[in-house]
């Protein structure tokens, strides 16, 4: 049986685009930037086929603001970019978060800062999880590590966005966007209950006019009240959404943690360590905001040490330290600027640290 033929075989960027369309995304605006150019290219032909709208915007700034308008009409909408372009979008992301509009933003991260390079990177973790734009807000941030997971999480992203009226970021990287592997095109099923969109702007026929805004000038305490409202929502998200995959953590003396592409590569190293009888586990955050703290706290009970791997100089490591409440040392292996790890190199690092854990 040719089991392979029912599967899709496309680059991650295309997998994500198709998943978005299957999840009901009907508006895409974007601007070309390597390594995510396949997204606008794919959307330019698939979106009209699906009865949706594709706009090649004049800038990232315009693209995110087009989403601001599209989302206000209730349409499922998406934009994508890579690091420098995501920086440009930050203004709009802040407004969208403030106005509580659902949308999906993909970042196929590349090397930075500045123009950096076009190789894969994970240097935008802080930007994605700690703010990025101005003001006291959060994105929901999902970090797929395979093309299959990219398919599923892209669909989930639209549901989470609608459920919480909040922008959701898919935090990928240049490798995930550019690599191809077989994907089972599972049908779209809502992952959660989806509330009625009783806030959209579509003309006030038969109802009172509505306003969508992030401006709260009067009375003086209105903005503080709005911030409290947002943070009550973020607390609900913190309660409902944290997700992590745990591999061989239960008896682990050394726990490795990584997200996205790096987690996949680290998984190979952890597998090798187990094969050699070393008690090493992996915690792979799937949501990086909200950060899945509980598995780390639990692992800190028995693990002697943590090792965080990132394609950066160390960003998620701060969340790991907080999550395990500084109960155990947290080592780091990683590098920024478009570097990527190999399973062999991570294993070497594991082997050294494991000696210290015995």
């Amino acid at each position: 049986m040719k089991t392979g033929t029912e599967k899709l075989f496309m680059k991650g960027n295309e997998v994500m685009s198709e998943a978005a369309i299957r999840a009901g995304c009907r508006f895409f605006a974007g601007y070309p930037i390597t390594p995510q150019n396949e997204v606008p290219e794919y959307m330019s032909h698939r979106m009209p086929e699906a009865g949706g709208i594709f706009v090649q915007a004049e800038s990232e700034l315009a693209a995110i603001n087009m989403l601001f308008g599209a989302s206000a009409t209730g349409a499922r909408c998406m934009t994508s970019s890579s690091s420098p372009g995501i920086s440009l979008k930050q203004e709009g992301i802040s407004y969208i978060a403030g106005a509580e509009l659902p949308c999906v933003i993909a970042n196929m991260q590349r090397g930075g800062p500045g123009l950096g390079n076009i190789r894969a990177s994970q240097g935008d973790y802080f930007q994605a999880t700690k703010g990025g734009g101005h003001g006291d807000y959060h994105l929901i941030v999902l970090a797929p590590s395979t093309c299959q997971e990219l398919w599923t999480l892209t669909m989930n992203a639209f549901d989470y966005a609608d459920r919480f009226r909040n922008p959701v970021m898919i935090l990928g990287d240049g490798i995930l966007g550019q690599m191809a592997e077989p994907v089972e095109p599972t049908p779209y099923e809502p992952v959660c209950e989806l509330p009625d969109k009783d806030w959209i702007l579509d003309g006030c026929k038969g109802r009172e006019p509505r306003v969508i805004r992030s401006l709260y000038l009067r009375p003086a305490e209105a903005l503080a009240e709005h911030n409290r409202h947002l943070h009550a929502k973020y607390d609900r998200i913190r309660h409902a959404l944290p997700r992590a995959e745990e591999i061989a953590v239960d008896d682990a003396r050394l726990v490795v943690s990584a997200y996205g592409m790096t987690a996949r590569i680290a998984g190979g190293a952890v597998h090798e360590a187990r094969r050699r009888g070393m008690k090493v586990g992996l915690i792979r955050p799937i949501t990086v905001w909200p950060f899945p703290e509980e598995p780390f706290l639990r692992a800190a009970e028995h693990a002697r040490q943590f090792l965080v791997c990132e394609m950066s100089e160390g960003q998620m490591i701060e969340d790991v330290r907080l999550a395990c409440q500084y109960r155990r040392p947290v080592a780091f292996y990683g590098q920024g600027g478009g570097w990527y790890p190999t399973p062999e190199k991570i294993f070497e690092r594991i082997a050294v640290l494991y000696e210290e854990c015995r």
Binding site: F9, E181, T342, E344, F347
Partner: protein, 182 residues
């Protein structure tokens, strides 16, 4: 790291169809029901000079789509051999397009399959099928992907372009297979 994992690089100059070759091998592996990843050099990296595609085959999960030390290399031109020979895994296997590569492989641990890919493609009527001849030689020499699955993947890759291209590239695939098995 994974015993069932095979890391393959396909390299040549831009226009020799290395990306397409990687795609066809990966799709064939998929048809065979194996796990596979394909990674292609992108962006400014691919302007001019050599292009390469990397394919990782495995029966288990694939950790990284990148290939640092290829187990198998299909090299279509001299610069690609120069670049990849030194980084090949010990006892690796190199498929050499002898028509365009005027030197021998120096490392003694490597298995070498030589094929006059460009000459054979020329005889078939189109030198652009060089990649498919080399791919056939790769399949015949390494048995890493099934010939039937490859033929199906070739058909899938070219059917939208023309029946003539399906026919040419299928013949090229078989010519490559025959060149190393006869």
């Amino acid at each position: 790291m994974n015993d069932s994992e095979t890391r393959i690089v396909i390299a040549g100059f831009g226009g020799q169809g290395v990306v397409l070759t990687g795609n066809v091998i990966a799709r064939a592996a998929m048809i065979d029901g194996r796990n596979v990843t394909l990674m292609v050099s992108y962006g400014a990296e691919m302007r001019g000079g050599t292009a390469n595609a990397t394919v990782v085959l495995s029966d288990g999960p694939i950790a990284s789509p990148y290939v640092e030390t290829p187990d198998v290399a299909i090299v279509l031109n001299r610069p690609s051999l120069d670049r990849f020979e030194p980084v090949m895994a010990p006892n690796g296997h190199v498929i050499v397009n002898r028509s365009l590569i005027d030197r021998d492989v120096e490392r003694e641990d490597l298995t070498v399959t030589s094929v006059e890919a460009t000459s054979i493609a020329h005889e078939l009527g189109n030198v652009r099928a060089t990649n498919m001849v080399a791919m056939g030689a790769f399949a015949g020499a390494t048995k890493l992907v099934g010939a039937e699955a490859l033929a199906e993947a070739v058909r899938l890759a070219f059917q939208e372009k023309s029946a003539k291209l399906v026919e040419l590239n299928t013949r090229a695939l078989h010519a490559g297979l025959d060149a190393v098995t006869s």
